[in-house]
Amino acid sequence: MGGSDSAGRLVRPFTLTGGRTRPSRADFTLITTVTAADPQPEGAARPQPEHARILRLCAEPVAVAELAARLDLPMSVVVIMLCDLLEAGRISIHPPHPVNRTTPDLDLLQKVREGLGRL
């Protein structure tokens, strides 16, 4: 029976957030791109281990969903930690390309079409 193990694997992550289950800000979607600030803010304390792991993984830009998968943590947990890192100036974020149904972005769609055509 792996039941208790998998329960622990999923509940324990919230200890990383100090028990918080809600993010403090709404900046992070699945495909928001996150990049570690380089250099890190002056005088910043040593990041806690999970924060340090995130910063290593986003040395190059990476989407939030990828971060969660690579950390093997629920996205809800990762987002809370990303809020802390953003507020500490340790990461920058790039929001997804906006999608507007009433005024579709033809250039964007053509670009996607061309990219798929090259597959």
Binding site: V11, T21, E60, L106, K111, G115
Partner: protein, 196 residues
């Protein structure tokens, strides 16, 4: 944009997403894996968290460790634009666990199993209600397609204009063609919008 692109790393690419939806076991993750440039990744949410409404937990009260998984892949369409493909959970009532999953999607592919077309009705209904453009891709298991496209269109009572394609979710070219059909539809709609 506050906090954007202030670092020395290469600039962050723009990101867009397409959803791959359909009933349980219809081949969503297979399709994602066929066209993704990375081995599909998975992120799981615990069902016991995330502020569930009581209704959402009906039937799963005993399973404290239940998780819902989201599989996804990525295609770099250019140096500065990345397309993510999300294989949505088979049970659409769990999509809320990633509260922005359907928000901001370019469109969707609804995969249909010809043997069990009803399992994809919920996904079709979801995208219709929200005005999210979609195409239907009929996944032929072992590459076999026993029914013509028109029969499938009738069985699904699709509105006119929704493309229906036969595909093999295991084949890269086949999945690419489905995505191209979706984007062609989006382009046609955008052009019609621009002309009106």
């Amino acid at each position: 944009m506050a906090g954007s692109d202030t670092t020395a790393a290469r600039p962050a690419p723009d990101t867009v997403k397409i959803l791959i939806a359909g009933g349980f076991g219809v081949g969503k993750t297979t399709m994602v894996g066929s066209v993704s440039e990375i081995v599909p990744l998975r992120t799981e949410e615990p069902l016991t968290m995330a502020g569930l409404d009581v209704d959402d937990l009906n039937g799963v009260e005993e399973k404290r460790a239940t998780t819902v998984a989201l599989d996804f892949g990525r295609i770099s369409v250019s140096d500065d634009l990345v397309l993510y493909l999300f294989g949505t959970p088979g049970q659409q009532r769990f999509w809320f666990m990633w509260n922005d999953l359907a928000v901001g999607a370019l469109g969707a592919v609804v995969l249909v199993d010809v043997r069990r077309p009803k399992t994809s009705f919920a996904a079709i209904d979801f995208f219709e209600r929200r005005g999210i453009p979609f195409v239907i891709a009929v996944n032929g298991f072992h590459g076999e397609h026993p029914y013509p496209v028109e029969d499938i269109r009738d069985a699904l009572t699709l509105p006119d204009g929704v493309p229906v394609m036969l595909c093999d979710a295991r084949e890269r070219e086949s999945c690419r063609d489905v995505l191209i059909a979706l984007v062609d539809r989006l382009i046609a709609q955008a052009e019609a919008e621009a002309a009106s």
